[in-house]
Amino acid sequence: MVPTTEAQLSDAVAAAAAGGHRCHVTGRATKTGYGRPVEADAILDLSGLSGIRDYQPDELVVRLGPGTPLAELEAALAEHGQCLAFEPPDLGPLYGEAAGQGSIGGAIACNLSGPRRPRFGAARDHLLGFAAVSGRGELFKAGGQVVKNVSGYDLPKLLAGSFGTLGCLAEVTLRVAGRPAGEATLVVGGCDEIRAVDLLNRLAGGPLEPTGLAYLPAVVAVHAPHPLTASAAVMRFEGPPGSVAARLLHLQAELAGEGALETLEGPASAELWAALRDVASLLPGGARQIWRVVLPPAAGGRVAAALDAALPGCQWLLDWGGGLLWLAIPPKPGAAAELVRAVAGRHGGRATLMRAALELRRTVPVFEPEEPALDALSLRVKRAFDPQGVLNPGRLRAEW
């Protein structure tokens, strides 16, 4: 089913519900490898609900169909010197798909965000309102078209990151941001992960307003678009060019003793952060399992070191000043999940199995298991929207 209007979408879901069908809901189907395998007998393809419907550059707001390619949206925003502040990654290549194919609806459904997350939020923080179709086939809306709104429950937060299990998005309204006029990155070479994370957190807690703070061990750093020869703590600054240059200068003086300093200007900086955002080109491909671990930022170095020691042959990198660990491990079914979750959990972190063979994703909990009471509450929320389990059954939890 490829509905092209809200009414068709609503009819399609209602018919599926009436006929006892279960739908695999997709945007442009670039991230079907993200999550548990969906157990469905029909495909509900939202790519036909595409196109920008209203874009008000002076309001920093855009309303569009969820099937709109991200690339199309970003190009339209760029024409007006604007962008999505949450920097949604292109995860297609991570799943072996071509680059530049993902949809905005998919980015929202997975609550994606890039290196700017700590400063500007994730997709959830930029979704102002939406229209969607519930698992009963009801077309409904929530949120609004303005940046500040407490009128009814904040269902945009709930729908973002719900992996299409609560409703099929039919239209979304997003806030957009001015594109920074300049950017540059300072690279501090040769420090280990513990020192690097301390350094990154010092910066995150200081007044220079960095918009990217990451760490690449030497084995990963060589794969950067502008290859770095040693391990690298990297710090991005964006804004008016004069201010970017001044902050960089200030930092160079302050960090003179910390390691070999290098700066990446303009496009070189942008390419590095695009690679960090999309991850695929920095981590080994093939059959490696990939984990995404969210952490309290100060714990990033210690967790990385512990996993590095426990998992021979793994490769990893840290983003969000230590708050996000990407980890690629040689395929070793089952066991690693418990290890990764145990180490992360000891430090207050939680882990998602981002990429793994289908069979593994069926048997290992892809998403962090929740306490029974929370799991039961989540199921009641699911049932409130989709009582028969029509939408993406199995994607989040094996049981539903």
Binding site: A122, E138, L139, G152, G206, R247, L374, S378
Partner: protein, 498 residues
């Protein structure tokens, strides 16, 4: 206007004494208030037009006590209204005659200041300002800063998704909340989030409870992010001969991609009231005043100030003062911060409205408001968060003059309808509560509201936690579950309100 609330449950009213006895057995001495006079202190929140005495007030101190009280009330079919500091402007904490108030005042401890991860773990009764104070010496602050911050609690902030003058740049409560402990109406305790940004595949229930006005659960602990204080700050005080020009200036700043730390507007009446109240040195011959604060790195602030000042001149500013001096900047702010109190001097009572509109419609909506002011024959003062289009028209009235409150409410409702008509919303940061409850169907149709109420059912199937707020009608959960759509329309028997 008398506010229509769900009819009180006779069994709850009759069972008051037994309930008080059971609560007294459950809780330490002094944690149950049942004396009629003492209950008076809880009979309203910041929306003073409505009052009601609850059956009793409980003052729990631990999560276990909260869970036990809620379980007891669930078993007895008694309603519960959570309460923080009672500064809500929408009646969210208005007691119910057949329910108890659960006041969170004794949850007043900061549990952990985690400087390494730049977050604070606190109990919900801690005031908003106390969070910033706890980390001030370390160069950090808590972003959302409602004007009520010395009094309002972080639990209340979570329930209302409160903002403040700096949320344009630093976000609302929802953008700064990392974790929470929540007790459901049946006594179940769940923990949401933690010290991480985002979770790992669970529903964002943390985002859902933020702004849920105490209808989904009682928050017993929060973890919030704290941010580094900006290195430098400057402010501009810009006067305009007409409101339209001020509105155009706001739109132009936004379009330029500048994100001010705050961008507030005051109309002539507000300027004069503030000047009379605390003499901040505002120009008195202008129709609108914009206060723009620009903060950030030393290297950036001067450039941003120059940019805003150029935009202001191009937009036809008739007066312009700039400062990078902290004392003068705070003086610019002083009048804005005191505006509500200042307006309080103009009139015995006022209603504070809270609609949000698309920023480019500012001038238009302000013209509409002044026309409505004439129609309803009541004065209205405008002081608001212009940067995010969040209006706070203050409607002046005298509750002692028969009929004035009704007129003020009708005026307020017309303003909110006008906000929705230009693509805006009923509430930017104060919540729906009882105040805007009956206007919800100007924004949402029956399906939208049914879906929201089904979410409530997932948390509180018997509808005992803060009912009568937010939703203009109450439905039993079983009934909501049976509703079916047809051709995009709900087959909705025309049910009476409550």
């Amino acid at each position: 206007m008398t506010l229509l609330m769900p009819p009180p449950d006779q069994a709850s009213l009759d069972g008051r004494e037994a309930l008080v006895a059971a609560l007294t057995r459950l809780l330490p001495a002094g944690a149950v208030i049942s004396n009629r006079t003492a209950l008076g202190a809880y009979e309203c929140d910041g929306l003073t037009a409505y009052t009601e005495k609850p059956l009793a007030v409980v003052l729990p101190q631990t999560t276990a006590e909260v869970a036990a009280i809620l379980a007891l009330c669930s078993a007895r079919g008694v309603k519960v209204v959570p309460r923080g500091a009672g500064t809500s402007l929408s009646g969210g904490a208005l007691p119910l005659a057949d329910g108890i108030v659960m006041a969170m005042a004794r949850f007043n401890r900061i549990l952990e200041v985690d400087l390494a991860n730049r977050c604070i773990v606190a109990q919900p009764g801690v005031t908003n300002l106390a969070l910033s104070q706890a980390v001030a010496a370390d160069g950090l602050f808590y972003g959302p800063d409602p004007s009520s911050q010395i009094a309002c609690t972080i639990g209340g902030n979570v329930a209302e998704n409160s903002g403040g003058v700096h949320c344009l740049k630093y976000g609302l409560t929802t953008n700064n909340l990392l974790g929470a402990e929540l007790v459901l109406m049946d006594g179940t305790v769940v923990r949401l989030g933690g010290k991480t940004l985002d979770g790992a595949g669970g529903y964002d229930l943390l985002g859902l409870i933020t702004g849920s006005e105490g209808l989904l659960g009682v928050v017993t602990e929060v973890t919030v992010r704290v941010l580094p204080k900006p290195q430098a700050a400057g402010a501009l005080l810009i006067g305009f001969a007409d409101i339209a020009a001020a509105g155009a200036c706001v739109a132009a700043v936004i379009r330029a991609g500048i994100v001010p730390g705050g961008m507030e507007m005051m109309d002539r009446a507000a300027i004069h009231a503030a000047e009379a109240y605390c003499a901040p040195g505002y120009p008195l011959d202008v129709a609108a005043l914009l206060i723009v604060v620009l903060d950030g790195p030393d290297s950036e602030v001067p450039e941003l100030m120059a940019a805003v000042s150029a935009i202001a001149r191009a937009a036809g500013a008739v007066s312009l003062q700039e400062t990078r001096d902290d004392r003068r900047r705070l003086a610019f702010w002083a009048g804005r911060k005191a505006a509500f109190s200042a307006v309080g001097r103009l009139s015995p009572d006022y209603l504070c409205m809270d609609g949000t509109i698309p920023r480019r419609r500012l001038a238009e909506i302000l013209t509409t408001i002044s026309a409505l002011s004439a129609t309803h024959d009541l004065r209205c003062v405008n002081v608001f968060h212009a940067g995010d289009g969040n209006l706070h028209p203050l409607i002046l009235y005298d509750a002692n003059v028969p009929g004035e409150l009704d007129r003020a409410e009708a005026f307020g409702a017309d303003i909110l309808r006008a906000c929705v008509a230009v693509g805006g919303v009923l509430s930017g940061e104060h919540g729906i509560g009882v105040e805007k409850r009956d206007l919800m169907d100007t924004m949402f149709d029956a399906t939208d509201l049914a879906i929201q109420q089904r979410v409530k059912c997932a948390f509180d199937p018997a509808g005992r936690l803060n009912p009568g707020k937010v939703f203009p009608t109450l439905h039993r959960c079983a009934e909501l579950g049976r509703l079916h759509v047809h051709g995009g329309k709900l087959r909705f028997p025309d049910l009476p309100r409550f």
